[in-house]
Every structure is written in structure tokens, then in C-alpha cells.
């Protein structure tokens, strides 16, 4: 219905050449190998790939697999902008990209990056969308048409005069997509467009991708790099990359039916398919309803007594004294309330997940825990003492804070110096600093890397260095803001297993996260914020059953939780669910 009405509005003008039989493909790579200048190994190794006009492809794979390099090959940034050694042929619409500069290729190939902040540079939303058409010298009337068209596809009609800086993350990324669509590309490449977004922002970007996929033949071909397995199911074709090579290219459903293979490629397997693999069944359902009916056909029933044993396990967890006590805390930025009467107590040994959309007040709240912000209304006590009466140094030793982006703190030449920064600031003796560095590198599984240059490490390793840096001060509580954002599945699991070990050894852990399955599998308690208020504060198993509150915060329970709940009780992971099923 929606497609028809959008098309009637003339949002996508017909293109003569598009999708006509025998036309050259949108993108073709023939045996492409590329090595970045000064890099020891090639980023792409002999890749061949064919994307037809109007086709949609999702590209998946672990960090460092060459996905971004592939994207940059498609619009000529490689080899024109990023230098290196390129062999093989890259053709867009039948023409080699070597022959044309990037800004010429931009007429037909659009590229959207993960980092939306760096892509936006205009004063208003409409001027952002106008930028491409202006560069191509289109007449003013046509530019106005392109602005209206692209903003409509991105769902941004009505905010033409807003400054991009005032938009939410999701809106910024949709604007970045609109500004590329305004050039009317015939091939649209999206490089991890949803990685930095909250669930609501992700949903909106996926909606644009879905619209482009389903709209008429005039829509561009879409190549999208994405980690969200559940979204992948909507694409017809998947490409999996590893170490610069393509290791899978074919039907998405056939890929999702191989959870072990996906896991071995550093991609999160689809929970429903993983469940059936674990049960030893051959069926590989994808949607919830399909999984539930297949389970019924196969004669599985939910073992309530086993589930009750799991739930009883939750309530046996014992916690110590209150460590962080928040009373009637309120805060506002320029008159806009960010926190509105928050009450919260976190005890020693807890593992808490703070959930909620961007702007719900999560970060403002945790910044009060280590004294980066001091309460103006209400009170925050850490280890019994008011934060307003403790110095930043005192608080810093008790509360470790790991920021979302490790690159906002890494500065030293060696890992040893980097991790020892906190303890040195707290005035510890050199031999004690050395002991702390060894101990915390061991805790994050990076012993032996003391002399490595932190800038040369992978994103996952840099994130671990950031955790080690916080641990080195031996804090009572560790706060992590989005600890898994930008990590692939393998790194993600590694990070969370690390936090689980730290929690088991007595550390109190607080994570701020958008990844619902991460929260469900690892944290013991959910605190959900919405518009600066605590919407829900409950043990994880109970919280995941509260669908009304989840919906109110625009959150969706992960598939393993949904399936368990439909069968008889909330299960927090695939292994829990499998344990509760009996044939």
C-alpha cells in the first residue's frame, strides 16, 4: 500500500536504463586485491562479486574482514582517495572505476558511512540534501524536487529548516541517507549505517532499506553492511566476508540455517535457528511463529519445573551493602529535564543493565556516579558518602568509568603507560603501578601486550585496554557506556564474558546498553529509563516479561526471550530455552 502511494507521488522518477534486460550490472568486482599503503596484509584478497541493478545484498562478517574496504571500492574512494595497491577490475554499470574520479562516480553510486556526525556539514536539513544536486549543477527547481523526494523517502519531511546538529542520532543517519538519495544513485552502498544508533533509530533506518528493497524497479541496488542478524532475514541475498575474502554468497535463509557457520564467521547466529541446531533438529525456522509451530509439530513441550529451577537460581544471588544510592535526583540541560526524580540503589556484586533510548537520561545518570556531574536537586551517595563531599580523586578510585569510544581516551605510546595512567594519577608507587598494570591486563586477557602501541590494536582490543585502564584503579564498581557498540559478535561475546568473570570475582558492574540480547544474557537486573524517569526496575527475567513497559520505551525483547515467553516462561538465552524444552 505504502509503496503504491509513494510511487504515485512520483518520488522515484523512472530511469530508462535501470533493470532493462541485458544491461550491465550495478557493481562488478573481478578478482580484486587491495592493500592499503603501509599495510602488511591485503584488505581484499582476490574478490569477485556481481550485484545486478535493483538487487539488494547484505554484507556480514567479523571486524577487519574487509567490508568497509569493499564499500569504498564501489564508489571509487579506493583507489582514488585512499591510496594503496589495487589489482583486478572494479566496474560500476559496466565502466571501470579507474577511469572516473569519485565525484563523477557519485552521479550513480551513493555511499553512506557509519559515522553520521562526520557526514553532515550543512546549516539546515534541506541544504544538506541539496548539497549533492548542487554539485552536479542541477537547476534550482530540480534541486527542490530532489530535496522533497529524498526527505520523503527518509521520513524527514517537515524538518527542512532544522539544524542537523539538533537532530537525534537516528534522524542524523536518515538525513545522511537522504542527502545521498538526493543524487538519485542507481547503486546505494550503506556501510554499517545502524551501528551507532539506538533501537528506535535502527528500526527507522531499516524501514528505509525495506522501502528501497520493495519499491518498484526504479529503486537503486542496495549493498548494506550490517551486524543485526534479525534484520538480515529481510534481504534476499547475503555475502559473508572473512580476512579479505568472500566465504559465502547466496540466499540469506540458507545462511541463517547454518548457525554454527555464522558463529565461526564472527556473526551472531539467529536465535531460532541456533535453538533448533542445539536441539539436534534439521528444521531451521526464522520467524517466531514458524519456530513455535515447528516445535509443536516436533512434539516439544516447555518443562515448567526446569524453568522454575532457573528462576529460583536468579533469586539465590546474594548482594552486599548498598554501594550507590540515588535519591530524588533531577537534572536539566537549559531547562529541558534529563533526569526527573530518580531513585535507585545498587548493591555490591550486582550486574545492572541500564536500558532506554538515547535521550532517556542513562548517560546523565551514570555521570553522577563518578562525580563527573554533581547533583543540583536530590542526592547521590557512593559507598555511603555524598558525592558532593568527595573529591574527584576519591570518587575516581571507587568508581571506574569506561566510555563508549576508547579512542576518546587512548593517548600513550605503550599499553603499559596507558593502563598505568589512572594508578599514577592516584599517586601510587611505581612498583604498585606495575603490579596493577599486570593484574588488569591479565583480567582482560591481554597479558604480554605491555609494550604494544595501543593505536595499532583492533577496536575490540582497544575497548579491552579501556576496561583494563579502569580496572587498574581497583574500583568497587565498574560502569561501561555501550561496551559492545562497534564490536563484532566474537569481540562482543569476549567483552561480555570478561564482564561476567569480573562480576563473579566480586566487581559490581553497571552497563548502559542498547543491545537487548546482551542485557538479557549477561545482566541480572534491568533499570529502564524513559524521559528521565525510571520506567521499570526489576530482575532481568521479570523485566523481559513486561512487554508494556518495553513497548513504551520502544524496546523489543530478543528472540530467545520472546520464544520462551510464548511457550511458558521468560528464558534469557538460547541455551536456557533449549534446557527448558523436552520432547
Amino acid at each position: 500500500m505504502e509503496e503504491a502511494s509513494q510511487d504515485e507521488a512520483g518520488l522515484l522518477a523512472p530511469r530508462d536504463a535501470a533493470a532493462s534486460p541485458g544491461a550491465s550490472p550495478a557493481l562488478e568486482l573481478r578478482n580484486v586485491t587491495f592493500t592499503y599503503r603501509d599495510a602488511p596484509r591485503p584488505a581484499l584478497k582476490g574478490i569477485s562479486l556481481l550485484v545486478e541493478r535493483g538487487e539488494s545484498v547484505i554484507v556480514m562478517g567479523e571486524g577487519g574482514a574487509g567490508k568497509s574496504t569493499l564499500c569504498r571500492c564501489a564508489n571509487g574512494l579506493i583507489p582514488h582517495f585512499q591510496k594503496g595497491n589495487l589489482t583486478g577490475d572494479i566496474l560500476t554499470f559496466g565502466e571501470s572505476t579507474r577511469a572516473r574520479p569519485v565525484h563523477e562516480l557519485a552521479r550513480r553510486v551513493g555511499l553512506v558511512f557509519q559515522d553520521f556526525e562526520s557526514q553532515l556539514f550543512s546549516t539546515s536539513v534541506e541544504l544538506e540534501a541539496a548539497f549533492g544536486p548542487e554539485n552536479f549543477g542541477l537547476p534550482r527547481g530540480e534541486i527542490a524536487r530532489r530535496i522533497a523526494e529524498s526527505l520523503a523517502i527518509a521520513g524527514m519531511t517537515g524538518v527542512e529548516r532544522r539544524a542537523p546538529a539538533t537532530l537525534s542520532g537516528g534522524e542524523k543517519q536518515r538525513l545522511a541517507i537522504a542527502s545521498v538519495l538526493a543524487c538519485r544513485p542507481e547503486l546505494l552502498v550503506l556501510d554499517e549505517p545502524t551501528t551507532d544508533l539506538d533501537p528506535e533509530g535502527k528500526r527507522q533506518v531499516f524501514e528505509i532499506a525495506r522501502w528501497l528493497r520493495n519499491s518498484s524497479t526504479t529503486a537503486p541496488a542496495v549493498v548494506m553492511v550490517e551486524h543485526e542478524t534479525e534484520e538480515a532475514a529481510h534481504f534476499p541475498r547475503a555475502v559473508v566476508m572473512r580476512e579479505g575474502a568472500i566465504v559465502y554468497d547466496g540466499d540469506v535463509r540458507a545462511l541463517l540455517a547454518r548457525p554454527e557457520f555464522m558463529e565461526s564467521q564472527g556473526i551472531r547466529p539467529l536465535p531460532a535457528a541456533a535453538l533448533f541446531a542445539r536441539l539436534g533438529e534439521t528444521a531451521r525456522p526464522i520467524e517466531d511463529a514458524d519456530a513455535l509451530s515447528q516445535l509443536e509439530i516436533l512434539g516439544y513441550r516447555f518443562d515448567r519445573s526446569r524453568w522454575e529451577a532457573l528462576a529460583a537460581g536468579d533469586s539465590r544471588r546474594a548482594y552486599g551493602h548498598p554501594l550507590i544510592e540515588v535519591r530524588a535526583l533531577s537534572h536539566s540541560y537549559d531547562g529541558i529535564p534529563a533526569l526527573d526524580g530518580v531513585d535507585l540503589t545498587i548493591c555490591e556484586g550486582e550486574f545492572v543493565a541500564l536500558l532506554g533510548q538515547n535521550g532517556s537520561g542513562k548517560t546523565t545518570l551514570v555521570k553522577h556516579f563518578n562525580g563527573l556531574m554533581l547533583p543540583r536537586a536530590g542526592e547521590v551517595r557512593v559507598a555511603g558518602a555524598d558525592t558532593r563531599r568527595q573529591s574527584a580523586l576519591q570518587l575516581g578510585r571507587q568508581v571506574g568509568y569506561v566510555f563508549q569510544n576508547p579512542d576518546h581516551q587512548i593517548f600513550a605510546d605503550t599499553v603499559r603507560e596507558e593502563v598505568g595512567f589512572g594508578p599514577r594519577n592516584f599517586g601510587l608507587a611505581p612498583d604498585e603501578v606495575a603490579r596493577r598494570v599486570t593484574e588488569s591486563l591479565a583480567a582482560v586477557g591481554m597479558e604480554g601486550l605491555e609494550e604494544a602501541d595501543p593505536f595499532s590494536l583492533t577496536k575490540g582490543e582497544r575497548q579491552r585496554i579501556a576496561v583494563a585502564s579502569a580496572l587498574a584503579s581497583r574500583p568497587k564498581v565498574l560502569i561501561l557506556d555501550e561496551p559492545t557498540t562497534g564490536l563484532d559478535y566474537r569481540q562482543n561475546v569476549g567483552m561480555m564474558e570478561l564482564l561476567r568473570r569480573l562480576n563473579d570475582s566480586g566487581h559490581t558492574i553497571i552497563i548502559v546498553t542498547h543491545a537487548m540480547w546482551v542485557a538479557a544474557e549477561y545482566a541480572h537486573r534491568a533499570v529502564m529509563l524513559s524521559r528521565g524517569r525510571v520506567l521499570l526496575d526489576a530482575p532481568m527475567r521479570e523485566a523481559m516479561a513486561r512487554t508494556d513497559e518495553l513497548a513504551q520505551a520502544h524496546l523489543v525483547a530478543p528472540q530467545a526471550v520472546r520464544l520462551g515467553a510464548a511457550l511458558g516462561g521468560v528464558t534469557l538465552s538460547v541455551s536456557e530455552l533449549a534446557a527448558c524444552l523436552r520432547q
Partner: protein, 262 residues
């Protein structure tokens, strides 16, 4: 944090062509620099306030109040000891200031801060795209005018990332507030390195995003924003030229000075 300087309002000044505003700003600088009597400089400040109020950009002047105040104080305190005048007014050990040099310092402080304030009004009422387009029409190559405009746009972004770096390092016990100047400078290394690394990375990405949207594709770029010199714009230019001319003429005839030849 407010990340842009431009205020989206619809006032007479917002509607003026950016070239007319550039002419007016240049004329204002000439007028401000022409006189070194504090009464005249105060007059220039009064004009700034009237224009700021009329263009509803007083909020932005308020945002840079600290900068304006510091500029004024530095000039007003330091200048009297560097120029000489006939009437002795103050002696602080080896430092001597005259009545004229005190007034001169006052005037320099006022006119410096007034010029910065006028520039702020210009940026509050002119989009960077209008500025770039205007400069292009005045003959600057597009790449140069775009770079100038983009630099203005990048400052708030840069400040934003610096703020998160400072927070991250403070959480690791970095204390930027104590110690002598040298110690403090050294302490800024853990802040400066990540700030520059992320800035370089993000400018690199911005450059790639620009290229990917066809920056420089067509030898005749078009503009969505229309720039047209209307009668009001020509009137503004004429008034600007007249004001600058009159100011120079008046000064040459000895008006508005406490000290000659300065």
C-alpha cells in the same frame, strides 16, 4: 550544547544578501578603526547592540560575553602603558600612563570587542552556505570559499569532542586544575592526543563524504539558496560605503581622536 552559531530567524538582517552584509561588516570595521576616542567607540558599541537586538542575535553575544569582556579588559589595561600622551595621570613604579593613553586604551578595548561582536552578528544571521556562495560570487574559487565556511562549521564539533575526551580522562583521575603553568601544559597531553587523533579521523571521513556526494563534479555548481542583490541590499552597500567614507573624512579632520596618528 548548541552546536551551531547561525540562528534561524526571519529578520531584515537575515534576509540581506550575504555580500551586502560583508560590505556592511567591512564598513563597520573601518568606522571602528577610524576613531580612537572612547565616546566614538562607545557609539559603535551602541550601534552593535541596536543591530543585534533588531536581528534577534543578542543571545549569541551573551554566549561569548566572557570573550568580549576579556578582550575589553586586556586592551583597556595594557594599552595605556604602551602609548604616550602629554598629560600624566598614573605612575606605577616604572610604568607610566597618561590621561590620553588611558582613554586610548578604553577606546581600543571598546572597538576590539565591538568588532568581534559585529562578526558574531554576521555569523548569527548568515548561513555558512550563504557566506560560501557570496564569496564565490565575489570571485573566490568554490573550494576556497567552501573551506572557509566549513572551518567555521567545524569549530563547535571540535569543541564537542574535546569535552568528551576531558570527561574520559577526568574519570581516570586526570586533574587539570592544579599545578603551575608548565605542569598543567604537560597534563594536557592525554587530552590533546585523543582530540587530534579523532579530529583527523573525522575530517578524513568528512572529506570522503564530500567526494561521495559529488564535491567538485561539475564546473558550474548551482545553488539551492538564491543570492540576489535587491534594492535594499544596494542601499545597504551604499550606506556602508558612505559611513566608511564619512568616518575616514571626519578622522582626517581631527574628529574622534584622543591621540593623533594612531
Amino acid at each position: 550544547m548548541q552546536a551551531s552559531v547561525y540562528l534561524d530567524r526571519s529578520t531584515f538582517l537575515h534576509r540581506l544578501d550575504s555580500r551586502a552584509k560583508m560590505a556592511a561588516l567591512a564598513a563597520f570595521f573601518v568606522v571602528a578603526l577610524a576613531f580612537n576616542h572612547p565616546a566614538y567607540a562607545a557609539g559603535a558599541w551602541a550601534a552593535v547592540l541596536v543591530i543585534a537586538a533588531a536581528s534577534r542575535s543578542l543571545t549569541n553575544l551573551w554566549r561569548i560575553r566572557a570573550l568580549l569582556f576579556l578582550l575589553f579588559i586586556f586592551a583597556a589595561v595594557l594599552w595605556p602603558f604602551f602609548v604616550k600622551g602629554p598629560t600624566l595621570a598614573l605612575r606605577l613604579g616604572p610604568l607610566v600612563a597618561s590621561r590620553e593613553s588611558l582613554l586610548y586604551g578604553l577606546a581600543v578595548g571598546l572597538r576590539l570587542s565591538a568588532m568581534v561582536a559585529a562578526g558574531m552578528i554576521f555569523m548569527s544571521t548568515t548561513m555558512t552556505e550563504e557566506l560560501a556562495h557570496g564569496l564565490r560570487r565575489l570571485g573566490l574559487p568554490y573550494a576556497v570559499s567552501f573551506a572557509l565556511a566549513a572551518a567555521v562549521r567545524l569549530v563547535p564539533t571540535f569543541l564537542g569532542s574535546s569535552a568528551s575526551v576531558v570527561e574520559a580522562q577526568k574519570s581516570r583521575g586526570l586533574d587539570l586544575e592544579s599545578g603551575n603553568i608548565l605542569a598543567r601544559l604537560r597534563k594536557h597531553v592525554p587530552v590533546l592526543v585523543p582530540v587530534f587523533v579523532t579530529a583527523i579521523r573525522s575530517t578524513d571521513l568528512t572529506a570522503m563524504a564530500l567526494e561521495s556526494k559529488g564535491f567538485g563534479a561539475h564546473h558550474r555548481r548551482t545553488y539551492y539558496l538564491e543570492l540576489r542583490m535587491r534594492p535594499a541590499d544596494w542601499l545597504c552597500v551604499a550606506l556602508a560605503v558612505l559611513a566608511a567614507g564619512l568616518a575616514v573624512y571626519a578622522r582626517l579632520h581631527g574628529y574622534g581622536e584622543v591621540l593623533p596618528r594612531l
